[in-house]
Structure formats: C-alpha cells, structure tokens
Symmetry: C2
Subunit: 167 residues, 2 copies
C-alpha cells in the first residue's frame, strides 16, 4: 500500500483490497504536456471548472505541437488530464458536499480507479507552446493526457440529469 | 516499431519519430471492464455514437461494480475507453472525410498519442454486471477506462463550434 491509500475511508466508503497504482498496468499513458493554473494546493481548486473564470495555460511538449493544427478553429475543447495526487482505491465515496455515499462512477471526484479527469474548456489565444483556456479546476502542473475538439452535435446534452445531485 | 506504426502515412500526414506504445509509460491504466457492441471490425463502426441507435452493453469487472452506486440516477454518462487497435504515432492526419490535414488534437480519431476515446451515452437499464447504453461507436470488446456522470451545467455547450468541420 502506498501512502495515498493508507488514509482511512470515511463512514460508508468502500475501499478496494488492492492498490491499483502498484498493479501491473493494462495500458500505458504518456504525458503530452501539462497545465499551468493558479492553484498550488488541492483545497484552493474550484469544485468544478465552470465556477472559475481564471485563465490557465495548456503547454505541450515539443513533439506534440504539430497535433494542434486546426485547434485554432475550435471554440471549445475537452481536456483529459492525470490527477497524479489522487488515490485510486475508493469505489464508494462520501463527498463532503453530498448527504450520502455514491459510487466513484457517479462522481467527478479525482479519486477513481483511473484518475483521468475531464474538463470542457473555452479555448482562448494560441501560444507558441500551446494555448490559453478558461474552465479548468486542477492543480498547477497537472500532467496532460489528451485534447479533443468539442462537437455540440455529439457532446452537448442540455437536458441531461444527475438525479442524486438534486433535492 | 510495432506493426501498428509500420503502415505508411497518407500525403501530408506527420508521424512521430518514436513508437509511443514501446516507450516507458508515465502512468498506468487498469481496464475496469469492457463494452459489448454490434461492430466486430473497424469499418463497421459508426463515425460517431450519435449516428447509431444501437443498444450496447457496458460490463464491469466484479471489483468495480460497487462504483456504480447512484449511476442509476444519471440520464447520461461519459465513457472513456481504450482504442486498443489504434496506432499512436500520427500527430497530423488526413481523414478520408476531410478536405485537408488536421492535428490529432483537432480530431476525434482513435489515432492519437494516448488512444483514450470518449462518448457521451444515454444510460438505459442497469444490469447485474453493468448497464445498457445508447450512443457508442467502438469495436465489440473495447476495454473500458472510466465512467463519469454527465452534468449539463459543466459539460453541455450547445453553441460550441469546430470551424474546420464547416463549409
């Protein structure tokens, strides 16, 4: 068990018997860059990116810069990033903002078997090494996994509901 | 170089000098389950999930089933899955449907440094080992990486535009 999983779970939480970070991986992620944000410690991060108007900087490693061709035509992007400080063993969690426990797959918590987080961001100016973006919520220095164009036709569902988040 | 990267690139495409699948990974993914779809070979897959009304089956490994608690209250989910047949080395691509080349980060192509694909799906019935879903576009047996609740407040941007996809 790593230090990350040694913390006790809150009442009602369910912990996996194994430390996923120590298991042999089924597939390997390479970090393509990182994100520069104003938040240096976890308690400073906004609960989600839409709560923040801060402008963040998305920086790619030189090998991947050509992959940004045509990104300047996209108003919004989906960013995937690796929550490198998150434990991976809590399948049922008791978030401080919720009145009862929920499974990790019903939460956007960074704590999940594969700590890949996702934000829909507004793309601002392109820079020499990436671009500026609004709508992020992660720690400064968070490693970047992927960037995808946001298509309203497939990705926007204004009527979607998360029942546990109401009432 | 693996077989996956040995294929020549199309005119205008730009290939990475290194085979990412052979590099030491920065982080490890564990597969939490898989997706059962009607499509057995790549050419059968719909170009995107919204073009399909087929009902697919999302199956979790037993260790992760408790993570589905409260997912039954979510009308829509974001699925992340691993495109295990995709090459990872083309940073600029010439898709057959496009009139010019685009960077991998302006495309939803499975070909990208980290072949994690994303679909927004409609959640249908819960099953003993997962749930049914509509809106997928991937091969039968595709490994599953993550499931997230879709929040209209943060994830839905009806006015988002992908400029290169017009005209």
């Amino acid at each position: 068990m790593s230090d990350r999983t040694a913390m006790p779970a809150r009442a009602g939480e369910i912990q996996l018997a194994r430390d996923l970070a120590a298991l042999a991986a089924d597939a390997g992620i390479v970090f393509i860059g990182h994100v520069e944000t104003p938040w240096k410690v976890r308690r400073e991060c906004p609960r989600n990116g839409r709560q923040s108007r801060e402008i963040c900087r998305v920086v790619l490693k030189p090998d991947y810069l050509e992959g940004l061709k045509s990104v300047e035509t996209c108003s919004h992007l989906i960013l995937l990033y690796w929550m490198h400080e998150a434990r991976r063993d809590l399948v049922v969690q008791a978030p401080s903002f919720a009145s009862r426990t929920h499974g990790c797959f019903a939460l956007r918590s960074p704590v999940r078997p594969n700590p890949v987080s996702l934000s829909v961001v507004e793309r601002l100016d392109m820079t020499g090494d990436g671009f500026l973006a609004r709508g992020l919520d992660c720690l400064d220095g968070t490693p970047l996994v992927d960037i995808k164009p946001y298509f309203a036709t497939t990705d926007s569902i204004p009527g979607a509901e998360v029942g546990w988040d109401k009432a």
